[in-house]
Amino acid sequence: MIAVVAASPARPTLVRAVCVREWREALGNKLLVGMTLLPPVVILVSGIAAVAAAAVNPPSDRDVQALYAAAPAVAGLDPREAVQGFIATYFLILFMLIPTVVPLTMAIYSVIGEKASRTLEPLLATPVGVGDLLFAKSLASTVPSVIVTWSAYAIYLATVIAIGSHAAVQAVTAPRWILAIVVLVPLLTLLSVNLGILISTRVNDVRVAQQIGGLVVVPIVGLGIAQVTGRVVLDNGAFLQMTIVLILLDVAVFWLARLAFQRENILVRWR
């Protein structure tokens, strides 16, 4: 017989085991897979359709005047170019919805699912650190969400390059936008994940948790629209500012989630 000696697992081992289990579980949940893939697919399809439509139908004079008024950044460009650039950028901002909605849903399912199936008690009875467990759970929702967002962006990019005008290509390949996708998407995802976990400790209904989490999306969309209409320009300063704010929010929300994620709290107070 082999000697069986139980002990706390190494952190990477724990993280890997939790991630694999969560991903298997998520892939087996058709509703969750649907809810995860729907937003990127809708945004991607409508984004590509809009850019394609603008490339085929030249805008009317009135449209162009309205556009110049709304987005001073594109004023003076060739109308067709301007419209495509505007649309391409506008959808890039909608892409920022993916790292808020998708990870939120995944995190909510991950925690509320464990509450509903009563798996938390045996899980907490193992010699794992709860901080490590929380970290592993966060990562399990963050990684696929970031991959989904980046993939959607890559497809969008490739399509715009293939069918879009010069202005549209310039808009989507602007270094600041690429940087935003690379840096802000993971930060935004992490924020949504831990927010989802935090909300799920108090709420037992997936839809209610999603609605509460949706309140976070509003200011982000607001900021995005403001930026397109030229009031807040995504210059280096604004980008840096957003990065710092997101990092601070990430730390704060992870800290709050860590406070809620204690063995006794989970077993005695989570309802």
């Binding site: 000696v5 190494a10 081992t13 085991a17 289990r21 298997r24 579980e25 899980l123 009875a125 010699p127």
Partner: protein, 309 residues
Amino acid sequence: MKTVVRTEKLTKRFGDLTAVDGIDLDVHEGEVFGFLGPNGAGKTTTLRLLCALIAPTSGTAEIAGHRLGRDDAKIRAAVGILTELPGLYERQSAWDNLVFYATLYGLAPSVSRAQAERYLRLMGLWERRDEPVVTFSRGMKQKMAIARAALHEPRVLFLDEPTTGLDPDAAKTVREFIVALRGEGRTVFLCTHNLDEADRLCDRIAFFRHRVLRIANPDELRAEFYGRATEIRLVPKPRAEDLVRVQAVPGVREAHLENGSIVVASTDPLHTNPLLVKTLVDGGADIAFVTERKPHLEEVYLRIVEPIE
């Protein structure tokens, strides 16, 4: 005798409610220790305390040589718990469930797989290892949960009402498993509200309702509350004079007729019973059976647990 679980004035309050009120326990290595109490007595709370899942309000405990509150991770590694509900990942296979937990208990991959196989076979679930647990019956899920609790070969196994809600067949498997564990020298802390089960499985029983009211082994309790009783079946049936003769035998505390038998309570049955048999035979009675009668533990239980209400 080695002690594996020792508590000192262990107490847990939830607001105004004292669920566990200053309990002192000593559980010995290798015994099946019954923790018997009605619903709401605080059994689950005690288990959570001893598995380092929740912290005591006051008091302390030492489990498998580790101090509660100081070496909690070591306690968790040294004990296994069968929770009230199985709590399995139902979308995943039996195999994946067990390997996942083995990994969380720090077992190396090859050991994890070996243990998962050992317990799946032991529980008769090996053939269904690749099926998602959601397709399993209540009894199979309970077996899975027990396998999960025992997978890392803990020194102490805490079982929270392991047969509640199971069909008789599954309950039997679970009880056989508990007996097998004891055979391996494993310590089992068995929470139950089922007297019959405690009686059949436990070396000692703690009667518990927020406080430990009494600790004893089942035979001691019977002897103390009733004296040993003997049932003597006569053919065709006892006559009035048989009863009178029995009542006159030295050491007999009480005797009465019951369904064609004479039921005798005596202070020292080992000395009294041979005398009883001789007296009856000498008196011309034909004896068919002489059996030891165990008074029902239910009554003992009610006498110990009820008065504090």
